[in-house]
């Protein structure tokens, strides 16, 4: 009986690996197949010949490079913005007791229940009034706002892990609170900030709903919107280049998440333990 358990576990694990990994393998395989092979009825994971032209064709497709640049600008700007405003606030959140903290943590949790579909209508009206609808700056602000709860949550977990005694030591030396923050707390927060920044970047890079509603002119489209245009309707693109574009769009996110692998668990847990 006992001897059968291990093999059964490996079979189960293999099925999980197949389920999780196969779709990505298939996408990559489609991205290097010729259109002849993609439309033929013989189905094989390995392409009969490697057809890299799909990638050049995808990059030459109208709008893909420009929308990738738009995505990069929005993701970098909103990441920088959310980290810069979340670091001080997360410090207060982690160190203060009482009502302020309760309100902060409460809001972070409530924001998870926020019905985006109810918010998007007035948000669109507000941004249109401010002249920020169909505008990369407007999208940056929206992404920043919606990344903040998670950034605060992650960062306050990292702040809580810094011993208060370190700050007290700085204060004994006569340093002001802001100096203590700048010279002691923020440097120790660097790994937490890096993890939070990478997570925020990926959230913005992947984001679809707000971009779909807010951006109307093709020159403002972010990468997910352009890829969606390629799927159906006017901009329909052949399967090979579409797969190639999809692979390219997924690379930054997957790279960052691989780096973040450990941090994602520990960061989330750190936040959870303190909360």
């Amino acid at each position: 009986m006992r001897t059968l358990v291990r093999p059964a576990q490996y079979v189960a694990l293999a099925l999980y690996i197949l389920f999780l990994g196969f779709p990505l393998l298939w996408l990559i395989s489609a991205s290097v197949k010729s259109s002849g092979e993609l439309n033929s009825l013989t189905v094989s994971l390995l392409p009969s010949e490697w057809h890299w032209d799909n990638y050049t064709e995808a990059l030459e497709k109208q709008g893909l490079v420009r929308s990738a640049a738009n995505s990069l600008i929005v993701a970098l700007a909103s990441t920088a913005l959310s980290v810069v405003i979340a670091v001080p606030a997360s410090y207060v959140l982690a160190r203060l007791k009482g009502k302020v903290r309760a309100a902060g943590v409460g809001w972070i949790l409530v924001s998870q229940v926020f019905p985006v579909v109810l918010i998007i209508l007035p948000l669109y009206l507000i941004l249109r009034t401010l002249g920020l609808a169909d505008n990369l700056a407007g999208l940056t602000l929206v992404h920043t706002t919606y990344m903040l709860p998670f950034a605060l949550w992650m960062l306050q977990g990292y702040v809580a892990a810094i011993p208060v005694e370190l700050e007290e030591a700085g204060a004994v030396d006569g340093a002001s609170r802001l100096t203590v923050l700048r010279t002691i707390v923020f440097p120790l927060l660097a790994p937490g900030v890096a993890a939070t920044a990478m997570f925020s970047f990926v959230s913005s890079w992947n984001e679809f709903f707000f971009a779909l509603v807010l951006l109307q002119s093709p020159e403002n489209y972010t990468l997910p919107i352009t890829l969606n245009m390629f799927v159906g309707g006017e901009g329909k693109v052949a399967l090979g280049p579409l797969a190639a574009g999809a692979v390219l769009a997924a690379i930054p996110s997957i790279v960052f998440f691989s780096i973040l692998r450990r941090k994602l668990t520990s960061g989330l847990m750190a936040g959870a333990v303190k909360g």
Partner: protein, 313 residues
């Protein structure tokens, strides 16, 4: 002195009001930058959204709308398409959330039992989480493709019907979309459950094993009770996220075929931005919020009551 400098406990405020005031000002200064965008772009829209639900607003260049009372809601009662979409949304949300939990629990237990290939599995498990939803949808469209898709090819090779139009057939489209939802959401649940499993002291399992408990008995008597709080919180979050999810279904099927995958968020989006009835759409959104909050309240209450029952024993 140093302690009060760095740890502003409420009691120090009474002794040194000036210091406390300056510290409070400092704290406000540190929090304000995040407070402003949150107030303008998230709290205000929520309030305005609730207000819109009681107006006849339309999405036009120069909006001119009036108070409509509960008209939107009475109109909504007779809107069968909306209630259909709410029913589909419930099947999607409950289906994805439960299957996610089951699949993630299985994987987390495997990853916690000292097998080889762990590194590979852990990296692979992150891929669905990291990928842009649009890419996920494009990818699964290829997997599900009726002609030349790998899924049909596999089914054909083992002698099953190989001509199923997964995303275009009335009866299989919703289950097919649910599978993609599970694929996307499984990693985060797995990582969370695995972290919980690793916090269960090994001695507990060993003691149970010594008492002659089998694998299933150990799971129900030791593992599951220890994981309960984590399961409750991740299930609640998954429920909300799945209920609010939009991009995946939008790109995969756009609600088709024949509205069989029209989840409520998608329905409201179309009402607002295609039909331009934003007052009516806001009313639908408000109904959705109430439904989600009610379901969560009932679920969390039952969980807490069970917890108390367990502790009382």
């Amino acid at each position: 002195m140093t302690a009060t400098l760095t740890r502003p406990a409420p009691t120090t405020g009474k002794k040194k009001p000036a210091l406390a005031r300056s510290r409070r000002r400092e704290a406000i200064g540190l929090v304000l930058p995040s407070l402003i965008p949150i107030l303008v772009l998230s709290v205000a829209p929520l309030v305005v959204g609730i207000f819109l639900a009681f107006t006849d607003a339309r999405l036009v260049r120069h909006p001119d709308y009036g108070f409509a009372g509960v008209d939107n809601f009475t109109k909504l009662v007779g809107n069968d398409l909306f209630w259909d979409s709410l029913r589909i949304g419930m099947i999607w949300t409950v289906g994805v959330t439960l299957l996610q939990l089951a699949a993630a629990m299985g994987l987390a237990l495997l990853l916690n039992s000292g097998l080889r290939l762990q590194g590979l599995t852990r990296v692979l498990a992150l891929v669905p989480w990291a990928m842009p939803p649009v890419v996920v949808a494009i990818m699964w469209q290829m997997i599900y493709s009726a002609n030349g898709g790998p899924l049909n090819a596999f089914l054909g090779s083992v002698g099953l019907p190989d001509d199923i139009n997964w995303l275009g057939d009335f009866s299989v489209a919703l289950p097919a979309v649910i599978v993609v939802g599970v694929w996307v959401g499984m990693p985060q649940t797995t990582v969370t459950l695995l972290a919980g499993l690793q916090q269960i002291p090994a001695e507990l399992q060993e003691a149970a094993a010594m008492d002659g408990a089998g694998a299933w008995r150990r799971f129900t008597a030791v593992t599951w009770p220890s994981l309960r709080p984590i399961v409750t919180s991740i299930t609640s979050l998954n429920f909300i996220w799945n209920f609010n999810s939009f991009s995946l279904v939008y790109v995969l099927t756009a609600g088709g075929p024949g509205g069989k995958t029209m989840v409520p968020v998608l329905f409201i989006y179309l009402e607002a931005f295609k039909n331009r009835e934003i007052g009516y759409a806001a009313a639908m959104g408000l109904v959705l919020v109430v439904v989600v909050v009610l379901i969560l309240a009932v679920y969390l209450r039952s969980q807490f009551r069970d917890d108390r029952a367990v502790k009382g024993r």
